[in-house]
């Protein structure tokens, strides 16, 4: 009870003020940036990007947030640093001239120094304080302060002075990044994490199967919630990009708009309307079944609607795809020229999975496409395990659906048996699943297309023969007979056979008709002869009647004659 009342304090709570870093994604996972006016420790092994992260923090602070910064370099000289980050488009010399940045290189060489008694690091304080005051700095980087330990031997003094330094920096109210090399079993070699307790960020550069992945994790962030996962990050020409990939909330908006697949007969199978916008579509099948052609046709249809399409090719070069698709009557080059279709071709082994994800994420954010194609996802398995690929694809689908981007994956199935699951196990994640399957018969291979699933719409349960022609893709009703599914020449043969059957039947029918005709003629003639017979019998009978009458008449006449004669006597 007392705790409850204590929690409802009357005064409004002020959240921890934060200094935005301006680094893509880092501000999202830290909930706004690094703790303002406090030191943050960035640690990691050699070459993991500590210096780059800290220099980007200072440069972006100066350029984007109006906070000048001091970069105290214990490792690199100022001009070396300037050269190193020039490739990122950071002009340190110009920033220094504009008093937005001050680089101070601290040179310590043990061989030049003799320790002759008690000392302190007041020189460092004065130097740093002077640098801060000279440009009114709000941000400070100490990279890598642990180098002091190699130059000076009095540990007790160093530790005491470092503790004093961090307190002093807090009092100065500057947001500080201290970098530290990862030690054996500790975050930093000299245990700097003991002194810096506000925020600790660990960078990692790991290599698995000869493929490197950069990871970032916020180990602690006092007074603030933060993402706790390991986030992959990318260093490219724009500096660091962190990908917050775990917001798996499944509450993205959905669209009921339907978009054509580019194949009208396929649209007919899908409730006559096509796919949902923003849905995920998987096209799987064995090698050479035309998966890429389906994807390219879909891309073509998207571009024809004047929408952007981003095509990630993991197997073929863009030129190759454009050339190959010409053979089926698709002119992708004009979409490329118009900037509607963008290819991004790279071997999967170029990067780790997470790096691919970050690269995709970044490109999608930049180009804002309506459709993203990944062709094929199967190759990603070479750089990660099945579960890793699946987790990557889950995050990708979530991200794309959150952006209302339609995505089409192609996947190669290695067995000819229809699997319940694709090899990447993504079939349960996608909204629609098309399966293209080889049907081998009569010494030829034909393609059959099924709609395995299609969420939220009535769809055909039938297999269609999938035909690639010079002018595009077509689906033809396969012949389903007593002999099973017939495709290709077998289907044609069956059709011919049926035509023959019809002809034969027609012939048979006409022969029977003639037979009947003949029978009727025979019967009719029979009837005629019987009639004649009857007439002759009738005549015969009539003849006796006439003779009887005649005899009777004659007898009558004779009797009258006799009577008359008798009377006349």
């Amino acid at each position: 009870m007392t705790q409850d009342t204590g929690g409802k304090a009357a005064t409004p709570l002020t959240p921890l003020p934060k200094s935005p870093t301006g680094i893509n994604g880092l501000d999202e996972i830290t909930g706004g940036g690094l703790p303002k006016g406090r030191p943050t420790l960035v640690c990691g092994s050699a070459g993991c990007g500590k210096t780059l992260l800290s220099i980007e923090f200072v440069v972006r602070g100066a350029l984007e947030f109006g906070e000048p910064g001091v970069f105290m370099a214990f490792e690199e000289k100022g001009d070396e640093l300037t050269t190193n980050v020039a490739s990122l488009g950071f002009d340190l010399a110009d920033l220094q001239a504009r008093k937005l940045l001050k680089i101070d290189h601290v040179h310590i060489d043990r061989s030049e120094i003799e320790e002759t008694g008690e000392y302190d690091l007041e020189g460092l304080f004065i130097r740093l304080g002077y640098a801060i005051d000279s440009i009114g700095a709000k941000r400070v980087v100490l990279d890598t302060i642990e180098n002091l330990f190699s130059g000076l031997s009095n540990m007790a003094v160093l530790r005491a002075e470092l503790r004093r330094l961090f307190t002093w920096l807090k009092d100065k109210g500057v947001t500080t990044i201290i970098t530290g090399e990862k030690g054996d079993g500790t975050l930093t070699r000299q245990g700097l994490e003991e002194y810096v307790s506000d925020c600790v960020i660990l960078l990692d550069h790991r290599v698995a199967n000869q493929i490197s992945t950069r990871m970032m994790r916020i180990i602690k962030y006092r007074g603030s919630t933060h993402g706790t996962n390991e986030y992959p990050f990318l260093i490219d020409k724009d500096g660091i990009s962190v990908l917050p990939v775990t917001s798996l909330t499944l509450d993205h908006p959905v669209s009921s708009e339907r978009i054509t697949s580019g194949i009208s007969s396929l649209d007919k199978m899908l409730d006559n309307k096509g796919f949902f916008r923003g849905s995920s579509i998987l096209v799987s099948g064995t090698a050479g079944t035309g998966k890429s052609s389906i994807a390219a046709t879909f891309a073509n249809a998207t571009c024809l609607r004047n929408e952007r399409c981003l095509y990630f090719a993991f197997e073929e070069s863009p030129q190759q795809i454009v050339r190959n698709m010409q053979s089926i009557g698709l002119d992708l080059q004009r979409h490329v020229d118009k900037g509607l279709l963008q290819f991004h071709a790279a071997r999967p082994t170029l990067n780790g999975l997470e790096m691919h994800l970050v690269a995709i994420y970044k490109l999608v954010k930049e180009t804002k496409p309506a459709l993203v194609i990944l062709d094929p996802i199967t190759n990603l398995i070479t750089v990660g395990s099945v579960s890793e690929v699946k987790s990557m694809l889950i995050r990708l689908i979530d991200f794309l659906q959150g952006q209302q981007v339609t995505v089409m994956f192609t996947a190669l199935t290695l067995t000819t048996v229809i699997n319940e699951q694709t090899d990447e196990g993504v079939s349960s994640l996608v909204d629609a699943w098309l399966l293209v399957r080889d049907i081998e018969n009569n010494g030829e291979r034909n393609r059959g297309l099924y709609v395995m699933k299609s969420r939220g719409m009535k769809h055909s349960n039938q297999v269609r023969e999938f035909v690639i022609t010079d002018h595009g893709l077509e689906l033809i009703d396969v012949y389903l007979g007593a002999e099973g599914v017939l495709t290709g020449s077998a289907r044609v043969a069956q059709q011919l056979q049926e035509a023959t059957g019809v002809a034969l039947r027609d012939h048979a029918v006409s022969r029977k008709d003639r037979e009947i005709e003949r029978k009727r003629t025979v019967l009719e003639s029979k009837i005629a002869s019987l009639k004649e017979e009857f007439e002759s019998v009738q005549d015969e009978l009539n003849k006796s009647y006439v003779e009887e009458d005649l005899r009777k008449e004659i007898l009558e006449k004779n009797r009258e004659q006799m009577t008359r004669t008798r009377h006349d006597e």
Partner: protein, 104 residues
């Protein structure tokens, strides 16, 4: 040849070079005062008449800290004779100081 070298060595020994020393301190802190006392004593004892000692208060000349690559204070720099040596601390370890200055 060997004679020349010997005379060169003799020259060095007979005409000792002047010492140019620079001491960086921070105001009147304990270490600074002690360092000042120590270096003055050493100079008077071993380098009487052939040294110059600049005393710089870093608090007063803050930009000197960056120029002279100062981290730890007090700092004594032996500018001449070459090589340049940097001695940090309150110079209380006389033996070490003499060694570093090449006076032992």
């Amino acid at each position: 040849m060997s004679q020349e070298v010997e005379s060169w060595d003799a020259d060095l020994n007979t005409a000792p070079e002047p010492y140019v020393l620079r001491l960086y301190i921070t105001g009147v802190s304990v270490n600074s005062v002690r360092a000042l006392t120590n270096i003055k004593h050493i100079c008077e004892t071993h380098l009487a008449g052939r040294y110059s000692l600049d005393i710089i208060d870093v608090y007063q000349q803050k930009d000197s800290a960056e120029q002279a690559q100062i981290i730890a204070l007090p700092l004594l720099i032996k500018v001449l004779p070459l090589p340049v040596r940097r001695l940090i601390g309150d110079l209380s370890n006389t033996e070490l100081v003499l060694n570093a200055l090449g006076l032992s």
